[in-house]
C-alpha cells in the first residue's frame, strides 16, 4: 500500500472514510487514517476541496461540533421519507384520555379531568396539548383557586379534519346512562369497534 501524498489521493481516501464512518470524524481521527503524518493545514485544504467538489449534490460535507461528516441536504428529505415511512410518534393513553375529556366535556378544569379519569393529570400533558395548539384556557372557574377552564381550539378541529365538535364520533349509547358495572364492559367493547 503506497502512502498517498498528493492532494487528490488524500481527498479520495478522505471521501471513502467519511462516507463510511457513520458519524462525524475529527481532524485528529482523520489524521490517524494515514500512515504518513499529514499536516493540519494540508488536511483542512483537502477537506475544503472535497466540500466544494460536492457542492450542488444532494449530499454535503459539513463541519459540525464533533467534526466533519457527510449528510443529506434538506431538499431530499421528502424522498428519504417516502423510503422510510417512519411511523409518526403516538400520544400516550394519558394524553389521549385527557384530550378526550376536554373535547367531550369542555369547558373543564384540570380537576374535572382528574375526577373523570380517576387519576392525577400530569401538568406536562396539559402543556403538551397547549403547545400543540389543541386546547386553551377559556376562563377560570369561580371557585377557590380559580382553576383554569380548558376547551379545544379551532386548530384542534382543523387538525382532526372536523368542522365542529358535533362531528366528533358520538359516544356509545350505553355510556350515556347510568349503568351497572357489568354492562360497562359491553359499552367499552362497543366503543372499540
Amino acid at each position: 500500500m503506497q502512502n498517498p501524498l498528493n492532494l487528490d489521493e488524500v481527498k479520495r481516501v478522505l471521501e471513502a472514510v467519511l462516507l463510511s464512518s457513520g458519524g462525524a470524524l475529527t481532524l485528529a481521527e482523520l489524521k490517524r487514517v494515514f500512515e504518513v503524518e499529514l499536516g493540519n493545514d494540508f488536511l483542512r485544504r483537502a477537506l475544503e476541496g472535497l466540500k466544494s467538489d460536492w457542492r450542488g449534490r444532494a449530499v454535503e460535507l459539513v463541519l459540525v461540533a464533533d467534526g466533519w461528516r457527510f449528510q443529506t441536504r434538506p431538499d431530499v428529505q421528502p424522498y428519504l421519507d417516502r423510503l422510510n415511512p417512519e411511523k409518526p410518534p403516538r400520544y400516550s393513553r394519558a394524553v389521549l384520555e385527557t384530550l378526550a375529556v376536554i373535547a367531550y366535556r369542555q369547558p373543564v378544569t384540570r380537576g374535572d379531568v382528574e375526577d373523570i379519569r380517576g387519576v392525577a393529570v400530569n401538568s406536562q400533558i396539559v402543556r403538551a396539548l397547549e403547545e400543540r395548539g389543541w386546547i386553551e384556557v377559556v376562563g377560570h372557574k369561580e371557585v377557590p383557586g380559580r382553576p383554569a377552564l380548558f376547551a379545544t381550539t379551532k386548530q384542534f378541529l382543523s387538525d382532526l379534519n372536523l368542522r365542529a365538535l358535533s362531528e366528533l364520533p358520538p359516544l356509545p349509547e350505553l355510556a350515556r346512562d347510568l349503568i351497572p358495572q357489568e354492562s360497562l364492559e359491553e359499552g367499552a367493547v362497543a366503543s372499540s369497534s
Binding site: 461528516r69 373523570i116 380517576g118 376562563g139
Partner: protein
C-alpha cells in the same frame, strides 16, 4: 469460540510452515515417519478430521489419489493416530473409525481378485474412500475460495451517511376515533358518573359554552343579545341558549339585569364574597 478459531488458524499456519521447512528432509527419507514430538500436537490440531489427515498423507507421499497404495497409507495413518491417542484422546473417535475402515480396505485388497467380473461387480474396495476423499478435497478448496472472497466489514464497508433531523418535529397524529377509544377506556376503568351523559346534542351545547366563555374572556361582559347570532339558524339559537343556561348553572357566567326592562348582560361569574375572601388577583 474465537479463541478456538484463532488457535486453529495459528495451527494451520504452523503446519504450512512445517511442511515447507521439513519438506526436503522428508523427500530424502520418504518412509521415515519421524515427527518432532512438539510438532505433532500442532500438526494434529491443524487437521479438520481423518479425511484431511489422509489427504495430507497422500499428498505428502505423492500418492496417486486414484490408485492409493493402501498399505503405505494405512501404516502411516495408524502411526499418526497412535501418536494422537497419547496426546489428545478425545480427538480420536472419528480417527479410529477411519483406521478400522483403512484396515478393512487393505485386507480386502489382499484377497485374490476373481479374473472375471464376479458377484461383487469388481468394485474396488477403495472406491468409497476415494469418493469421500475427493469430495472432501473439493470442499476444502471451495472453503478456501469462500474465505478469499471480499467480505463486508472485513474487506469493504457499506455506507450510511448522516440524515439530519427535520427542522419540523414530527407530531403525533390523532384521529377522532382515537378520542372515542380513549373515552371508552376511561369508562371501562372508572366508575360511572353523570359526566358520561354526553351525546351529539350535548356536545354542541358544550361547544357553545366554550365559545361563549372565549367571547366573554375577551369582552368581559356583553349584552345578552350579542351572544346569539340569528343568522346561524334556529337550532343554533336554541343550543346557544342552552349553553348559556348551563354556564349559569355551573356558575361560570352571570346574567344580570340591573332593573326591569333594561338590557340584560352576560358576564364572567364573579362571586364577590369568594373573590374578596381569597383576594385572588385576576
Amino acid at each position: 469460540m474465537s479463541e478456538v478459531l484463532e488457535k486453529a488458524e495459528a495451527a494451520e499456519e504452523e503446519i504450512r510452515h512445517l511442511a515447507r521447512v521439513q519438506g526436503e528432509l522428508w523427500s530424502e527419507l520418504p518412509n521415515d515417519l519421524y515427527i518432532p514430538p512438539d510438532a505433532l500436537e500442532v500438526i494434529l490440531e491443524a487437521f479438520e478430521g481423518p479425511l484431511d489427515l489422509l489427504l495430507w498423507l497422500i499428498r505428502r507421499n505423492s500418492l496417486n489419489i486414484l490408485d492409493i497404495n493402501m498399505s503405505a497409507l494405512t501404516r502411516q495413518y495408524i502411526e499418526y493416530v497412535e501418536a494422537m491417542q497419547h496426546k489428545r484422546l478425545e480427538l480420536a473417535a472419528e480417527y479410529l473409525v477411519m483406521a478400522a475402515m483403512l484396515i478393512e480396505i487393505k485386507s480386502r485388497m489382499l484377497l485374490p481378485r476373481p479374473e472375471k467380473v464376479a458377484e461383487d461387480d469388481g468394485l474396488d474396495p477403495r472406491a468409497e474412500l476415494v469418493r469421500r476423499l475427493l469430495e472432501y478435497e473439493q470442499t476444502k478448496l471451495a472453503a478456501r475460495g469462500l474465505g478469499e472472497l471480499p467480505q463486508a466489514g472485513r474487506d469493504f464497508l457499506t455506507l450510511s451517511i448522516h440524515i439530519p433531523q427535520l427542522a419540523a418535529k414530527r407530531l403525533p397524529q390523532v384521529a377522532p376515533d382515537d378520542l372515542l377509544l380513549a373515552w371508552g377506556a376511561i369508562l371501562k376503568r372508572a366508575s360511572m358518573t353523570k359526566h358520561h351523559r354526553i351525546g351529539r346534542q350535548e356536545l354542541s351545547v358544550r361547544e357553545h359554552m366554550s365559545r361563549i366563555l372565549k367571547y366573554l374572556r375577551e369582552a368581559g361582559r356583553c349584552q345578552f343579545s350579542d351572544l346569539f347570532d340569528p343568522a346561524q339558524g334556529r337550532s343554533s339559537l336554541v343550543v346557544s341558549f342552552l349553553a348559556l343556561l348551563e354556564l349559569v348553572r355551573e356558575r361560570l357566567v352571570d346574567i344580570v339585569q340591573n332593573e326591569p326592562f333594561t338590557p340584560i348582560y352576560a358576564q364572567i361569574h364573579t362571586q364577590i364574597a369568594v373573590a374578596a375572601e381569597h383576594a385572588e388577583p385576576a
